[in-house]
């Protein structure tokens, strides 16, 4: 189907179904119940899931296939966001030109940075990309204030030109981003019993973009080009003995993943037309690395799972406060309740970054292959019992695993 093998087509279909029905199964708890705060089926959250999924999938094209660990990918996301907002300000509030320009700007940007950084590999490469991202951040924060809005960030204003659109709406408001007249923030909800499901234009638009990008990624993974990138990761020296120069390939991978980041940045401002310099900070770059690692480096589905897990946990954990904790541990005697609350409290709410750091360490130490490898191990545990103990399936090494 669509030039995919049966296995890839199955994976792609699963992702498509997940995208289409996300508003349902991300909202498993009825409205108003105590567990309703674990629901993730509201538009803002679902958009974030998809956008960070896109970012992580793009990052994985570079890190997962070639093994080059970039610590500056947030710079491309930031560049894409700024470009998107400028399109809204100057041209039109339609999101299509904004997305195209975001992607192109981030692509040019990554071409420049990649051209220089890829002259070195290993740690040097990581440090160079980190330095570039920090440089972009401090420039966006200070000198480039006319372009980036500095500390306040780049916002839309009532007197923006918007050559092909309207400067103001009839009511004198700033217009909202739209897709040929369909506003991004429009939504419709469906109530079934105690459950309420919201379907928003913004989410489904982002989902369509994601689905297209993911299809591209699968084809890239299975292409001869993807094979060369894998060869770069496993042994660059041998690759060059076969007469292939690795650098154009790695540069192409770098630019493609930079364009993915720019597209994610463009989508981000399509949902909320505001771009700030803090999106370029090294912590933001670290977060996408973590998403990829947590899910499973070099797998197709891994970055999506990782991005989903991190985005969801961040939203849930950072909203928990001591009142919520007290309600949870209500069933215990008071001294135990207070003790439990005091133990858990530093890790929730504003302590989310502490949890993030710990998760980061635990995943790298104990599960370098991420969720996908964890799932595979559990799967292997159950499937091996039926076979001879200790014997591997005959072609296990040759076959790509379920998530690949």
């Amino acid at each position: 189907m669509l030039g995919l093998t049966a296995k890839d087509a199955r994976l792609y279909l699963i992702v498509l179904v997940m995208l289409i029905f996300a508003p349902f199964f991300l909202n498993p708890f009825p409205e108003g119940s105590g567990l309703a705060q674990f629901n993730a089926g509201y538009p803002d959250m679902m958009q974030r899931l998809v956008i960070f999924g896109l970012f992580a999938v793009g990052f994985n094209i570079l890190f997962g296939l070639t093994g080059y660990l970039s610590f500056g990918h947030a710079a491309f996301l930031g560049a894409g966001s700024y470009a998107g907002v400028w399109m809204f300000k100057l041209l039109t509030m339609n999101v299509i030109p904004a997305l195209i320009v975001s992607t192109i700007v981030a692509g040019l940007f990554s071409l420049l940075i990649g051209f220089i950084s890829l002259r070195r590999s290993g740690i040097y490469f990581s440090i160079l990309t980190l330095a570039f991202a920090q440089m972009c951040y401090s420039l966006a924060y200070s000198v480039l204030t006319p372009i980036t809005g500095g500390e306040t960030g780049l916002q839309l204003a009532l007197d923006d030109p918007r050559v092909l659109g309207v400067t103001q709406t009839a009511e004198g408001n700033i217009p909202v981003p739209h897709l040929f007249g369909l506003p991004m923030n429009a939504s419709t909800s469906l109530d079934i019993g105690a459950w309420s499901f919201t379907f928003s234009v913004g989410y489904y638009f982002a989902a369509v973009v994601f689905a297209l990008a993911f299809y591209f990624t699968i084809r890239l993974f299975r292409s001869p080009f993807g094979l060369v990138l894998r060869a770069v990761k496993s042994n660059q020296g041998r690759l060059s003995y076969t007469g292939l120069n690795a650098r154009p390939y790695t540069l192409a991978a770098f630019v493609i993943s930079g364009m993915f980041a720019g597209l994610a940045g463009g989508l981000m401002v399509s949902m909320d037309p505001l771009a700030g310099a803090e999106r370029m900070l090294w912590t933001a770059s670290g977060e996408v690395v973590l998403m990829t690692i947590l899910g499973g480096v070099g797998t197709l589905i891994g970055p999506i799972l990782g991005a989903g897990a991190i985005t969801y946990l961040e939203a849930i954990i950072s909203t928990i406060n001591s009142t919520v904790l007290h309600r949870w541990f209500d069933i215990f005697p008071e001294w135990l309740e207070n003790l439990l609350v005091n133990i858990v409290y530093p890790f929730v709410g504003s302590g989310w970054h502490l949890t993030l750091g710990l998760v980061f360490m635990i995943v790298v130490i104990f599960l370098p292959g991420g969720i996908v490898e964890g799932g595979r191990k559990i799967y292997g545990l159950f499937s091996r019992k039926r076979e001879e103990p200790g014997s591997m399936p005959p072609n296990a090494a040759a076959q790509p695993g379920p998530g690949e």
Binding site: I116, R120, I123, A131, F132, S142, V289, G357, M361
Partner: protein, 343 residues
Amino acid sequence: MESIILQLLNGLDKGSAYALIALGLTLIFGTLGVVNFAHGALFMMGAFIAVTLNMVFGISFEVEDPTRTDFLGNVMMVDTPYVVHWFGEGVGNFLIDWSVPMAVVIAIPIMALIGVVMERGLIRFFYKRPHADQILVTFGLAIVLQEIIKAFYGANPIPTPAPEAFVGSFDVGQLLGFDPFAIMYPYWRLVYFFFAALIIGLVFAFLQFTTFGMVVRAGMADRETVGLLGIDIDRRFVLMFALAAVVAGLAGVMYAPILSPNYHIGMDFLVLSFVVVVVGGMGSLPGAVAAGFLLGILQSFASMSWIIELIPGINQVVIYLVAIVILLTRPRGLMGRKGVMEE
């Protein structure tokens, strides 16, 4: 001329901090082959040792001061630090005033302990793992350490004063024969520079003139051969990690009066120190020190107002630009050797 000397001096204290952190980073690279993203966190913890000692000496209780009354005629309550109460006026106030230099003494065992715990508890499991894993796990550790400090001390910078004797500025210009007050340089920054020079000198002397240092240098050059000679190189490398942690910690302790420490001070310095290491040449100790001072001074020259007017924003990016130029023209850095951290 005056302004050039002034900028040179201004670059020295920042350059000293870069040099000290980069020295520790290079020691860890060179001996253990580990990329330590948590090194900035060690610098930050050093700074917070100074903050803590200053706070501890400042813990006070209220006593009645019979000589003073408030406007209602009641006896005034005065805050008296416990150290003043216990050791008397003179010694107590001296302790409070000199808390930062004293923190240096305390920081040495604490930082060494932290270094050993870090190496034994975490880093040693990562020697055989790819560099990407080392970067990631130390990056996670840096976040955790930062957040712990933030949970205890809050997010705001905490001012930590230098001793009274070092407040004020030294008239360097007069010493060199310029007009008085032409080149003023704060005493504490001067102290910081000499302190950094002393530490760097000690580390080099230790590596150069002791048998222990000789073995470590041999291990840096060829770990396998040293191991074949029957020397337990790993045990010595643990101590080098502790030494690197102490160097970073001391750099942090002494920097506290210059820049009020907050929880992300370490990361701010770490990114620049990595650039310093790359410019100096990975694995080269003299390179790290030279590049540290060089970049600190360059940064301070780039902050001169007429240069900023000429090229806006140059002060923010000069270090990165230099790094890019160096890596494009001399890929191994200023003093990098062939075969060190090449892949």
